[in-house]
Point group: C2
Chain length 149, copies 2
DNA sequence: ATATTTGCAAACCCTTTGCAGACCG
DNA sequence: CGGTCTGCAAAGGGTTTGCAAATAT
């Protein structure tokens, strides 16, 4: 009888690697997150999780999401609108940013090495080491350019 | 009898220019804001306003701050921590960003034309026009001795 | 004069928490 | 088994709002 090595989602595995107790709920939430490529808020995660296993409470989603964030598994984002949104954390590199469509609210991810480098340089020159970058640009589709704010 | 042209703070004047009714409370809040060069949250603004005129309620500060934001007089910022913080809006140019000290939480403003340009270019290339940039970097002061951790 | 604004307190929204029972390792 | 995790509902912190009285233009 062979041992099952990894029947779980990538995030569930990560969970285990981090030494976190892998409960049914966490497994479900991890699965839902692994399965998401957008930036759901807690209520949305709750909806998706309940669809998989109805025995999950929203309090647990809040607790899990916080736990995952503290363990570097998730990243919390704020795109305005009062509620926190989450996405699977990037590896140490591959950092990415967000462009938010001013009209539709749609979030578009992008990467840019030059931007990475420039930010790092700027922060260095100010005598600091870069810890985190929180950057989202709001843009409007192909119209006049405004260089405000 | 000559008309008083401008006995008020710069922001109170802006208020008037925008056609907003200039009440006592708004005048006070505008004064407090003109007098601030940091990024106070609503409670802090309330404290400062009450120090000038005790007949102000926090509800009015919330309402005024929102009004000012909607009229481009103030800018709301989010540095984490749940509460919104405010600062006087930049003119169309002179845009600036924020570096947050990871340890002290201190907010340090900076400008960088190269960064302005790069962001604009990136957004253009994605087929959008830049509307707003929300950027704050968290950094840790470089230790000159060693960087243990 | 009269439409707006204010203060107060209650309402709201998102998030956290105390507790008793359920569960993982 | 023992400590951790969960569900529930109540509490919490920031922000908004309904209403009658006060106020600006």
């Amino acid at each position: 009888m062979k041992e099952q090595t990894s029947p779980d989602s990538p995030l569930a595995d990560l969970c285990r690697q981090r030494g976190l107790k892998l409960t049914g709920q966490r497994r479900t939430i991890a699965f839902v997150l692994s399965d998401s490529d957008d930036h759901p808020d807690v209520e949305e995660l709750y909806r998706r999780a309940v669809a998989v296993d109805s025995r999950i409470s929203i309090a647990t989603v809040y607790r899990t999401v916080r736990l995952f964030e503290e363990n570097g598994i998730l990243q919390r984002r704020d795109f305005g609108g009062g509620r926190a949104r989450y996405e699977v954390a990037d590896g140490d590199h591959g950092d990415h940013y967000h462009l938010i469509d001013a009209d539709s609210g749609k979030v578009i991810e992008f990467e840019n090495a030059e931007l990475d480098a420039l930010l790092d340089t700027i922060v260095q020159q100010m005598g600091y080491g870069l810890v985190t970058t929180r950057l989202s640009v709001v843009g409007r589709k192909k119209a006049k350019t405004r260089s405000g704010n």
